[in-house]
Amino acid sequence: MRNDSIELIISGRRQRRRRWILVTAALAAIACMLCCAMLLLGNTIYPVKDVIRALSGEQIKGVSFAVNTIRLPRMLAGLFAGFAFGIAGYTFQTMLRNPLANPNVIGITSGSSAAAVFCITVLHTSNTVVSIASVIAGLATVIIMYLLSRGRSFSIGRLILIGIGMQAMLDAVISYLLLVSAQQDIPTALRWLGGSLNGSQMRELPPLVITVFIFAPIIILLGKHLSLLELGEQSATSLGVSTDKTRIALILSSVCMIALATSTTGPIAFVSFLSGPIAKRLTGAGFSNAIPAGLVGVNLVLAGDLIGQFAFEVRFPVGIITGLLGAPYLIFLLIRMNRRGEL
């Protein structure tokens, strides 16, 4: 009898593991296909052979410019930003145990944006300084929000309300900075307000790529601890997680990724919010969903950009497409949570 149930549990776990691997592989495959599509599609559709030759460094008239200068940076920006948004959003949602607690809703993105716009329009600093400032501002926003929402006892509802208030203030600051800034700085700064892959350049990418390569593995490695944190403070501690250290490492990594992804593509609406829940739906419970969530983020950004580029007569930036897809889901999620009395 006892052996039976143990075997059941083991086989169930094996099944879930198989599902996790399958889903992750499928997501990765779709992401690869979307990457190829990003390189192949455009105003002119070049033969695959030419695209590959252009990528490997051969100079082909027309193809080289279109692929290497326009499409490749665009694809890479979408790839890394999507991964960063997805994985960071998932981390926040899991850590705070609430799908609504994501960097967009609680104002972290606005903090980074405000700092970046300030650096661009007022201080005229280099890209590196902009990136660093946006990371610091993102972290500062998190810390301030945490301190404000601590009160007598921490509550996620309070955190969200305070986050929305902070966001309103920071957005006001951004509007002010855009108003007083010189005309030539505005296009650069506007990028910080609506997410778009338009005009991604190769030289802007290294900070984001490096950040993702450093911090995504940290979050993935801490995945097990993160799942334990989801059980609640006390359970996690008794299962051997040093909760404070884990939390600090996780917050630091996610904020760095969010800030740099935002500095490259702007805040692409709802990607960080949608990725976690979608990944969870697909893989089921039981395993850390950091990688699937990141891949879902990649797929959302790349698919959104392709739809925005080619599905309509006009080219829409990716942020609008993800916004149109994501907002109804947010409303649906709210309705469901309200019905169940989870809020």
Binding site: V105, G157, I164, A168, L324, G326
Partner: protein
Amino acid sequence: MSSSSALENKQLSPTPKNFTTVMVICVVLLGVCVIASLVFGSRLVRFNELIDGLFHPEIDTYGANIVRKRISRTVFSLLCGAALGVSGALMQSVTRNPIADPSILGVNTGAALFVVSGIAFLNISTANQYIWLALAGAAITAVFVFGIGSMGRGGATPVKLVLAGAATSAAISSLVSAILIPRAYVMDQFRFWQVGSVGTGSWSAIATFAPFLIAGILIAFITAPALNAMALGDEVATGLGVRTGVLRFIAALAGVILCGAATALAGPIGFVGLLSTHVMRLILGADLRFVIPMSAISGAIILTISDVTGRLIGSPGELEVGVVTAFIGAPLLIFLAMRSKVRSL
């Protein structure tokens, strides 16, 4: 409501002790605001020019004409502020929720969506047409947001309402951008509206606005005693002879008319209702017969001060008044969230 009619009610419930003081301070502040709004701007007006502009219509100097231009703007901002203040008081009372404000509930973006669709698909272009579309948009969004926010256990708690409002705003603003991007001409027309500015205030806009303002404020004054009763709870109110369903509907309608009309003409301006009502409640207590009129006055003061501030710090251009009110209003939201108990979130 004047202080004399407030005094007549003394037997029923006493006038707040500090009512006269508050009234005097507010009127003085209002006067200061009006003068500041006439004097300050991208060009500072001298005192004799101010006098010329106000009292000597025959004098035709540059400064006097600037003052005359600024008169309509000032009147418009006072009226809009009053409308937003009363609207905030009504909405907070109807939803029994301290953070109900047109901007937080997403009503502004709802109005914006309808106006944009009107410009894009129906080729409308006059304020008279804007106002009806904006009212419809505001009403539908308010019902939608409140519907989602009040589902489930505990009714419409602040956090549920805020989230429903934020989600709806996000959805609607994506739609607005999707409509705008392919249509440069709509973008041009919409930009003037979107800025959330009282700078467009002309006498014709005021004339369009006035009937809505008067209707809304009248309803607010008439329903104030009944709303007071409803604050004690629906059962008590019913016992006192109030038909709560009808009352809620009428008061909410007045709230939406006020903020919808203000939004239609001035563009989205947030947090004025939240700020003015809370300040007045803090000073005067919960009696809506005093809070509503004083919210109107303080709303007018807040919006006009914000407008002047926007003109000064944005000089030589101007910073939209909606940006200024968001910056001073949002800390109040944070403060309210910090003070509230976990249960009531």
